[in-house]
């Protein structure tokens, strides 16, 4: 006798099966494997924080075979890393076109070498717009998940009940919950990594701190200027007070980061300053953020 409950159960299992055809286990660190999603026939996307070596990375495919993979590049800011296989391995993930809303049921589909495909069930607990991660990257949406993540779960495919992929699960972007890196962000980062080998991030090379200019105005004062950096080259000095950037008033370092992101590497951004009490406008060419890893 098929009850509603067993129908639901079967649907979930089918969704897992469907999605599982594009989920791999990734072996790129000593103790635990992690998960990855075949985003294109020969390209795997996984969680950057689980890649702890550059070489001898292998993946376990849905058919059980283990293959070597090369690291094409990574973006710690969004916690994404891209692995390439020597040839098309399996069918890539089917993207979801469902609009995610808090309360929607989702599954995180992973794979481990021993037990094959695995699944955990939960819901979308919160959704909001563009979100800057603490590592300096930007997700198109903040999608918080209410589901269990295990040590080997990061990189798992987050799917809707039909088995289509909404994003990549990671435990590293928030202390309180698992976050799904949205598919749109994955696409954006993937393209940039495959063409450039990395994701470039805008940078001015200044250390800033909020100061009260008057009772009603908070601006940012320049504490340090990186020698030969974009701001230094444009003539920004320690003690300058930054009032607006790219036409937008800035009261907090968040505002500055947003303005830099809106502009882009190589573009010129106008900075309105107060120097010794006198207004001054300086044009800064946004540079590329130096990577330290």
């Amino acid at each position: 006798m098929v009850t509603e409950l067993s129908a639901l159960s079967n649907d979930l299992a089918s969704a897992v099966e469907r999605a599982g055809r594009s989920v791999v286990a990734v072996h790129a660190r000593p103790r635990f494997s992690s998960c990855g999603v075949l985003w294109r026939p020969d390209v795997i996307v996984t969680a950057e924080h689980t890649i702890r070596r550059d070489e001898e990375i292998t993946v376990t495919l849905p058919d059980g075979a283990t293959q070597p993979a090369t690291l094409a590049g990574s973006d710690p800011g969004t916690d994404l890393a891209v692995l390439k296989l020597s040839a098309a391995a399996a069918e890539p993930a089917v993207p979801s076109n469902v609009e995610v809303r808090p309360g929607n049921l989702v599954l995180a589909i992973g794979r481990s070498e021993d037990s094959g495909v695995n699944a955990t069930l939960g819901i979308i607990s919160a959704v909001s717009g563009s979100w800057r991660t603490w590592r300096g990257g930007r997700l198109d949406n903040y999608i918080r998940l209410d589901l269990n993540m295990y040590p080997a779960s990061s990189g798992a495919a987050v799917i809707d009940p039909s088995g289509a992929v909404l994003g990549i699960a990671t435990a590293a972007l928030s202390r309180i919950a698992a976050v799904a890196i949205p598919a749109s962000t994955v696409n954006r980062v993937l393209d940039e990594i495959l063409t450039r080998g990395k994701v470039v991030r805008g940078y001015l090379g200044v250390g800033l701190r909020p100061v009260s200019v008057s009772k009603h105005q908070t601006s940012l004062i320049v504490l340090s200027v990186e020698p030969e950096g974009p701001a230094a080259k444009a003539g920004v000095l320690v003690g300058d007070i930054l009032v607006s950037l790219g036409g937008a008033v800035v009261a907090d370092t968040d505002d500055v980061q947003t303005a830099i992101e809106s502009s882009g590497v190589g573009k010129v951004i106008e900075a309105d300053l107060l120097r010794g009490g006198e207004p001054k406008r300086i044009a800064i060419t946004v540079g590329e953020r130096p990577r330290r890893d």
Partner: protein
């Protein structure tokens, strides 16, 4: 559903707290009394009490439901005895409705709630010598900047040619100096203090 018991000698205060409880659909009022005598019989999830400290006594069977305490005239400070009696939230006399409800929910979930003024008294007093800008060593600054890019301890150790143990030590020192509870918080603070360039 949080089963709440209200205990306050003043009828006016009781009425006010009852209205407060009624405003939150997640709260079910188990009863409203002048004292705590009905606690044992009713077994509420949380007690919202506007009672003097002396009137709090542990129940006979030793199981104390969490108490959200609204103090009377004097503002008592946290003591170990209060914790033993089950007090999990000590709100100030001018706590808002939202704060009281939040404290009830938190207590029901096993958390303790401290009013900021109490927290102030419990935290180590700021030495007048401590500068507003914490001083990180040049090495710590380097580590902080790597943390801002999500570098793990192992990566930091490898890049700076130090042991992973030393890297962990630097990270811990940075979190301490910046008064941060996590790497993410340390990075956010670092950017706002101009320690991390953007």
């Amino acid at each position: 559903m949080i089963r709440l018991l209200i205990a306050a000698p003043s009828a006016v205060v009781r009425a006010g707290l009852e209205a407060l409880a009624a405003s939150n659909p997640a709260i079910e009022l188990a009863g409203s009394f002048a004292d705590l005598s009905s606690v044992e019989a009713l077994r509420p999830d949380v007690i919202l009490a506007a009672l003097p400290l002396e009137d709090l006594a542990p129940p006979a069977d030793g199981l104390a439901p969490p108490i959200v305490l609204l103090p009377g005239e004097s503002q008592p400070a946290w003591t170990r005895d209060m914790l033993r009696l089950g007090v999990r939230a000590l709100l100030s006399g001018n706590a808002s409705a939202a704060e009281v409800l939040a404290a009830v929910e938190a207590a029901a979930n096993g958390l303790a709630v401290l009013d900021p003024s109490t927290l102030d008294a419990l935290l180590p007093s700021a030495s007048p010598l401590s500068a507003d800008s914490p001083v990180l060593t040049p090495r710590e600054l380097e580590v902080l900047r790597m943390m801002a890019e999500g570098a793990a301890n192992k990566t930091i150790a490898w890049k700076l040619n130090i042991s992973e143990h030393t890297a962990k030590f630097h990270v811990a020192s940075i979190l301490g100096k910046l008064n941060a509870a996590s790497r993410a918080e340390a990075v956010a603070i670092g950017i706002r203090k101009g320690l991390i360039l953007i």
